[in-house]
């Protein structure tokens, strides 16, 4: 399987959207990928039923950082319910390239962090998303 580093992926890698952190996040989680050392921290601000702000910080490969940046764009303005439903399909669609098996952990690190954060904030039960299937 050949992975294709398309221009928009490199753009997200070099100019990540929603990069930074929130002063008082309602949801916060971080995690790392022990294989390659990718690191990711994610903050959400939630008002009523909507995510009103999202920020992430991290360092790692183009795949892990671009998917986090793309996921942050998907999260912005969505309802909490919609964010809970975000999964692998959405991330893969956004990346738009084949991801080799060894690199799925890079692509899905952002999902792990998101769903762990939602679970820690009591908004979601862990285990009902597919984060550990690979």
């Amino acid at each position: 399987m050949s992975m294709d580093y398309r221009e928009y992926i490199l753009d997200h890698y070099r100019n990540p959207r929603n990069y930074g952190k929130l002063e008082q996040p309602d949801v916060h989680a971080e995690d790392s990928n022990p294989l390659c050392g990718d690191q990711l921290a994610l903050d959400l601000q939630i008002e009523g039923n909507h995510v009103t702000a999202v920020r992430f910080q991290g360092r790692g490969c183009a795949i892990s950082q671009a998917s986090a940046s793309m996921l942050s764009e998907m999260i912005e303005g969505k309802t909490t319910q919609e964010v809970i439903r975000l999964g692998k399909d959405e991330v893969l669609d956004a990346l738009g390239i084949a991801i080799s098996p060894a690199r799925t952990k890079c692509a899905f690190l952002c999902l792990r962090v998101l769903h762990r954060g939602l679970a820690m904030a009591g908004l979601e039960k862990l285990g009902n998303n597919d984060e550990d299937e690979d």
Binding site: S2, Y5, L10, D38, A62
Partner: protein
């Protein structure tokens, strides 16, 4: 294939890396439709037919358990395994083969010493000296020992060139550590540490020394008597042997005094319901059915390396490393970590521009069929010291040829193109 080069006046045995590649079946395979360029021997080496066949023949003709039966097969299997032990002992110039304990790998050897010797000899407040360049396998077992015993850990820092700060080492020795444990060769920087001198200094300070030989025994002549080392650990799979077999060499008086690590069959002399006595060395430390075929494979690996000559192996790696560093320096934006080829084994860790090593490794694999490792290589603290999250690492061995370095360099240029650098 060994040839004789008489041009130097005296008859000097040399070998050709290109010629011995035929001994390694895997090197003729393709990945992604391209010839495999395997530049990750520091993670695990490939195996010559001699090793594969030795294990194959053993299973086809000789297998049963060792040190148990009195029938023909059992005696043959036991003899084959013990013969492999003698070969390994000669390879590292151990005084006696009973000083060679078969383990699963380097990690198990270090853990054996940390539990058996460490629990008996390390007490509250005792100092253990390590270095900043240790593989996790020569770090975490000592952290666990320090937690069990409330001992202290101190670390010899490195210079920006990736050499140990020997001035700080000398200062730490003044605090009279009980144990000094360090790697002979760094698996990231490739640094060859001055082990003989450091061991002598540690002994003068009253310390016992454990040397991590995972990256040295496969690549350099290592003589335990010349080094005067107390414990040496290494793995079979990094030196042309199979996985699942490793070696702990120890000073005999230390091994004799140490309690067993794992208890069970094979390692006992007499067992009663409430107490037991232990077998002699080396079996005291080899509880349960050992890795018989793997020990025989390791014996064949040692034969193969002995035939090449470890001086020749070192010379070949030095040449290929010098060539690699030269070629890599021509790639714009590339940073190489570690010392010059004189102080370096066949390992080069590098980064390229803002391309994450993981992306680099993917591109090299897909575009060129090149296998290099990317990540922290089980040395997270060292990468913190180098101030990088990860590096890519190309590592070389007996079968690496300059043409493979050229493919690597071509791949790096390709990566620059893809990342528009």
């Amino acid at each position: 294939m060994v040839t004789y080069n008489k041009s130097a006046g005296t008859e000097q045995k040399v070998y050709s890396a290109a010629a011995i590649r035929h001994d390694f079946p895997i090197l003729s395979r393709q990945v992604h439709g391209k010839p495999l360029v395997f530049l990750d021997s520091a993670v695990s080496s490939q195996k010559p037919l001699a090793v594969i066949e030795a294990m194959n023949v053993y299973y086809r003709t000789t297998h049963t358990n060792v040190h148990r039966g009195v029938y023909e097969l059992s005696e043959e299997a036991t003899a084959a395994m013990e013969k492999a032990r003698v070969k390994v002992a000669r390879f590292i110039n151990a005084r006696q083969s009973k000083q060679v304990i078969f383990t699963r790998n380097t990690t198990e050897g270090i853990n054996l010493v940390a539990y058996s010797w460490g629990n008996a000899n390390i007490h509250q407040g005792d100092l253990i000296v390590l270095t900043e360049m240790e593989h996790h396998s020569n770090l975490v077992p000592w952290q666990l020992l320090a937690q069990r015993t409330s001992a202290r850990l101190e670390f010899v820092p490195i210079t920006d060139d990736g050499l140990l700060r020997l001035d700080v080492y000398e200062q730490l020795l003044q605090q009279q550590p009980k144990l000094v444990a360090f790697t002979h060769v760094s698996n990231v920087l490739g640094t060859i540490n001055p082990a003989k001198q450091m061991i002598a200094q540690a002994h003068a300070a009253g310390a016992i020394v454990l040397l991590d030989g995972a990256q040295s025994v496969p690549h350099l002549p290592v003589d335990v008597q010349d080094l005067d080392v107390d414990f040496l650990c290494f793995s079979g799979h990094k030196m042309l042997g199979p996985t699942g077999i490793g070696v702990l060499y120890g000073r005999r008086d230390l091994l004799e005094a140490m309690p067993p690590f794992l208890g069970g069959g094979s390692m006992i002399r007499k067992v009663e319901l409430r107490q037991s006595t232990w077998d002699d060395l080396p079996w005291k430390f080899e509880a349960g059915t050992p890795a018989i075929a793997e020990s025989i494979g390791e014996g064949a690996a040692v034969d193969y390396l002995t035939d090449l000559g470890m001086e020749n192996v070192r010379r070949h790696e030095q040449e290929i490393t010098r060539y690699a560093i030269e070629q890599l320096r021509s790639v714009p934006g590339l940073t190489i970590y570690g010392p010059d080829a004189e102080h370096r084994s066949g390992v080069t860790a590098f980064t390229l521009g803002d391309i994450h090593p993981h992306d680099l490794s993917s591109i090299l694999d897909q575009e060129m069929g090149v296998a290099v490792r990317a990540g922290h290589h089980c040395t997270q603290p060292l990468h913190q010291r180098l101030n990088v999250a990860a590096t890519a690492r190309a590592s070389f061995y007996v079968y690496t040829i300059p043409e493979e370095i050229d493919v690597l360099v071509k791949g790096l240029h390709k990566a620059l193109q893809i990342f528009k650098l």
